[in-house]
């Protein structure tokens, strides 16, 4: 019996290393850019990424040294109604399997460098948190590896009806916007991959894939409308909300320590009803209690406008930038019930709970209905650009309500507010208009155009928001109107070898809180790519605390980063 047990081989780290070895061995026997053998193909990349944090120009520290293997396996297992070239499957024309593996080893947890990381609000004692070396060996080991088949699905095309079905772990992406999550909300985000890395990390890595069923029916041409289709998905129970990472274990994720259990530097509290922030609310992960559905109709009009009408019914993931509350404060007794006559009684019951290490609040992910429209139109004649829009109206999103404080007793047994709040629901309207244009700037590039893309996004809460409390801090206001603008430019130099992208994001409502970033990819060879990228977060002309929920200069101030990445693709 080999001393290396099967169990050990299945451990994430071992699987990752084994796949790395396999990947390095493969090029010896294949000559193509990817590896194709008949109906089977394998492709992927090996990537190492270093992130340096530099809150000040002269203060640099390494916070990430992530090594990633991505491997993609594809297989046409039904072709022309024949499965595996042997079995006849009447009614099915073709089926295609896709498996996308991601294995991660972050060596920063091995040498656990300092210094302490700045966290929101970036001043005073609260502005500093732990460092990576504060992590115990056990905690570091838990964060060091990831090994998962992120997507595993099969596409099935039916023979006699224009229906295709995708079954398995997958992502659904709807809408027209870039980096603004309105209709693109089926898959919640995993901020443990990166909290403020928009522009340098792909959404593919940031979204959490779910097991689901998706079906698309093509109607073809109906009257003057072309490409008419209906699409629907169902996540049968295994949905999870926005996944949060905290400092110091994930210094690139949320700019705060975990205030609840499981944090080496935070408190050690649990939430009510066995709920876990960023993982699960008060429901079981069953079809009955945790299904999500979406439906959309799409078409192209004779004028060339591409339109979709969308409906979604799903739990609030709290990852769309709206200042909703993922914690619902719950008093442990209601005034007027037996033994609960006064505010002091309410506070006492909550305090008793706290003394047991349980907070008088639960992680809260309620269902909402949402309807939306997306559209795009290419205006060749006047603006020579493409206009995009997307809007969504959500019914009943949860906001922390200052009129519903959760009380506790102070040292003198007097009722005081605990900081937790109950919930009041409100509708939210979000929309954006975007404009893309290939533009000649020959002074900067005489051979290729610059692709310029800009977006204006706004949000409106049609309720008096003065009673709402934002989630960033105790001073965080929830406003009726919010707005964000983005602009990005990209081009190509050096005969395809150098691909720069620059982008700028600004929030005019919150002191012009901003993010400026750039990414440059240089192809040393077609397979070997080096990336240099930087993100700067700032609030021009304002040195105070800025409470904003978009992840710009207010929330991520002092989180300026430089990224160096090397990728080998196969």
């Amino acid at each position: 019996m080999n001393t290396l047990s099967h169990t050990a081989l299945l451990r994430p780290g071992c699987t990752f290393i084994a796949l790395c070895v396999l990947t390095l061995a493969l090029p010896l026997s294949f000559a193509r850019a990817d590896f194709t053998y008949g109906d089977l193909s394998l492709s992927g990349n090996l990537q190492t990424q270093q992130i340096f944090r530099h809150p000040e120009p002269d203060t640099w520290s390494i916070i990430q040294q992530r090594n990633v293997l991505r491997a993609r396996v594809e297989y046409d297992w039904i072709k022309n109604g024949q499965a595996f070239s042997r079995f006849s499957l009447p009614g099915i024309d073709s089926a295609h399997f896709v498996g996308l593996y991601r294995g991660v080893y972050d060596s920063v947890y091995d040498f656990q460098p300092g210094p302490r990381q700045d966290v929101f609000p970036y001043r005073g004692q609260a502005g500093r948190d732990g460092k990576l070396s504060d992590l115990s060996q056990k905690a570091a080991h838990a964060l060091r590896f990831e090994s998962t088949f992120r997507e595993v699905f099969t596409d099935i095309e039916f023979a006699r009806i224009p229906l295709s079905v995708r079954l398995g772990r997958q992502m659904v992406v709807w809408g027209e916007s870039d980096n603004l999550r309105m209709l693109d909300r089926t898959n919640a985000l995993d901020t443990t991959w990166h909290g403020g890395g928009v522009g340098q990390e792909t959404w593919d890595d940031l979204r959490i894939p779910y097991w689901m069923i998706r079906a698309t029916y093509s109607f073809g041409r109906i009257g003057k409308l072309s490409d008419v289709y209906a699409e629907s998905y169902w996540v049968p129970g295994l949905w999870v909300p926005l996944k949060l990472g905290f400092s110091p274990g994930r210094p690139w994720s949320s700019p705060s320590a975990n205030p609840f259990g499981g944090s080496p530097t935070g408190g050690n509290f649990r939430l009510l009803n066995r709920t876990v922030l960023g993982r699960r609310g008060n429901y079981s992960k069953s079809i009955d209690e945790n299904s999500q559905v979406g439906f959309r109709l799409g078409t192209t009009t004779p004028q060339g406008v591409t339109v979709t009408l969308n409906y979604l019914y799903q739990r609030t993931a709290h990852d769309d930038g709206v200042n909703t509350s993922s914690l619902r404060g719950l008093n442990q007794c209601q005034i007027g019930t037996v033994g609960c006559e006064t505010i002091a009684d309410v506070a006492r019951s909550n305090t008793a709970l706290l003394e047991r290490g349980i907070l008088p609040a639960e992680a809260y992910y309620p269902y909402t209905h949402a309807v939306g429209i997306s559209a795009s139109y290419a205006d060749d004649d006047y603006t020579e650009g493409v206009w995009r829009m997307e809007t969504i109206y959500e019914f009943g999103k949860p906001f922390a309500d200052k009129h519903k404080p959760i009380m506790m007793l102070d040292e003198d047994e007097r009722p005081i507010q605990s900081g937790f709040l109950g919930i009041k629901k409100s509708d939210v309207w979000q929309a954006f208009i975007g404009f893309d244009r290939p533009t000649w700037i020959r002074a900067l590039n005489r051979r290729s155009t610059f692709f310029l893309t800009s977006q204006v996004f706004w949000q409106y809460i049609p309720t008096s928001t003065s009673r709402f409390q934002g989630q960033i801090s105790a001073t965080d206001k929830v406003r009726n109107w919010e707005a964000v603008g983005t602009i990005a430019a990209s081009t190509t130099y050096m005969r395809g070898k150098l691909l720069p992208v620059a982008f700028f994001v600004i929030d005019p409502i919150n002191h012009y809180s901003s993010q400026l970033g750039w990414v440059v990819d240089y192809y040393i060879t077609p397979r070997l790519i080096v990336r240099l990228a930087q993100n700067y977060f700032f609030v021009p002309g304002f040195g105070g605390q800025v409470d904003e929920s978009w992840g710009l200069g207010g929330l991520y101030r002092k989180r300026d980063e430089t990224v160096v990445r090397l990728t080998y693709q196969f």
Partner: protein, 420 residues
């Protein structure tokens, strides 16, 4: 009454007479256009099959090559052997459609075609005709490219040293849905499937490798009216969305040597150029490759080095109407029999020769699965950018002609699903 009868009789006979005249003329023109080698293949002293055209033996070829290409041979960048001319007729359906319909085709005041049904619009090209260039451009637009062409290929950006900057494997489909020369079978599907939308063809481009670009897909709708602008979309796997885009024809993709209107020699709008028919000449050209793919060699590995043939070529010059176009003109050397450009010379705004594009077509007999196909069988492409000393080379892996595809293949939602 008598006058009326006389007038009617005269007009009827006049019409019949004109028709006879046109029929006689068109028969000759069609024969010359589609069967230029029926009465014998070109023979030139010093360029017999097997002759090598090399830096030290180019003299016999000097009147049979554009000076811009001859200079490259003299400089030692390119050498090839001469092969006997191959007869490569297009499909009978296309030739028949030309015979049946060309008589009624006219150019409108806006430069659009009128009365066009199928086949070659203008088989009679007279260099003395002021509109001959424009007519030739329309002939090229409506060349016989089959109904559906599927191509698997690898595109490379290659430095002079031979170092490859970028390498992209892709699957390309072009499908025509209007003005098909094939007649509809009694119970068969109508080949003019996009008549209602007014779409001449749809182009689909799907990157299959490398990993960072895998499943990037673009879709183009080319309208039958040249005045109408293309509709373009791109699916990005990074965003997992399909997006409408504007494609500037004078722009390049990936900083390659190919402008967006360079593909296949010319793929822009006819209206964006002023066209001039230079003439019809016998020239050497890399046509009739006897393999699935062209062999590239010479400087940088940019040149087609399979044997070249003496071909009847239509020389067509196009000058962009826009002042800011990178080219002052492009000269297309179009194989008369297939009516596809086999090389094209591009000149910069100063008038200097800047690039040479080779579009390579093979002999179907040597292309497994396409042995009986009678449309131009694409075997490769190379754009040589002399001013920047690099090449953009497309190597064909496989081609499938006229195999039916699902009706919804080009639907946007299908592309998203395929994008994965």
């Amino acid at each position: 009454m008598q006058k009326l009868l006389l007038a009617l009789t005269a007009s009827v006979f006049g019409f019949i007479g004109a028709s006879f005249a046109w029929a006689e003329m068109s028969a000759q023109a069609i024969q010359a256009m589609f069967h230029p080698y029926a009465n014998g293949k070109p023979a030139v002293e010093g360029l017999a099959p097997g002759t090598k055209v090399e830096p030290d033996s180019w003299q016999a070829a000097q009147d049979y090559l554009p000076v811009e290409i001859l200079d490259r041979i003299k400089a030692g960048e390119l050498a090839f052997e001469v092969r006997e001319t191959t007869d490569l007729p297009v499909s009978d359906a296309y030739i028949t459609a030309t015979r049946n319909h060309a008589e009624h085709v006219q150019l409108g005041a806006d430069g659009e075609l009128g009365g066009y049904v199928a086949g070659m619009p203008f088989p009679i090209l007279d260099p003395a005709d002021e509109q001959a260039g424009l007519k030739a451009a329309w002939n090229y637009r409506h060349r016989d490219f089959g109904t559906i062409m599927q191509i698997w290929n690898t595109f490379r950006l290659i430095e002079e040293s031979g170092a490859v900057n970028r390498e992209i494997e892709n699957y390309y489909v072009v499908a025509y849905g209007m003005h098909r020369p094939q007649t509809r079978d009694a119970n068969g599907p109508d080949p003019n499937i996009w008549q209602e939308e007014g779409l001449l063809y749809k182009e689909y481009y799907h990157i299959t490798a490398p990993f960072d670009l895998k499943n990037t897909i673009s879709l183009k709708h080319r309208h039958i009216r040249d005045q109408a602008k293309d509709d373009d979309w791109v699916y990005s796997p990074a965003g997992r969305k399909i997006r409408k885009i504007i494609v500037k024809h004078e722009d390049v993709a990936l900083d390659s040597g190919l402008l967006n209107d360079d593909y296949f020699g010319f793929s822009g709008y006819i209206r964006s150029y002023t066209w001039k028919l230079v003439g019809i000449q016998t020239l050497l050209a890399p046509v009739g490759v006897q393999a699935v793919k062209t062999t590239f060699g010479g400087r940088g590995g940019w040149y087609p080095v399979d044997p070249w043939e003496l071909r009847e070529m239509v020389v067509l010059e196009g000058a962009p109407t826009a002042d800011d176009h990178p080219y002052s003109k492009r000269v297309l050397y179009i194989d008369r029999q297939m009516f596809v450009p086999v090389y094209a010379l591009m000149y910069d705004r100063t008038g200097a020769h800047a690039k040479t594009l080779f579009e390579l077509y093979g002999n179907p007999k040597f292309n497994p699965g396409n042995e009986h196909v009678r449309v131009p069988v694409w075997t490769g492409e190379s754009m040589i950018d002399y001013q920047n000393a690099f090449g953009s080379v497309t190597e064909i892996t496989k081609m499938v002609c006229n195999e039916p595809m699902p009706a919804d293949f080009f639907n946007l939602n299908k592309i998203v699903a395929r994008g994965r």
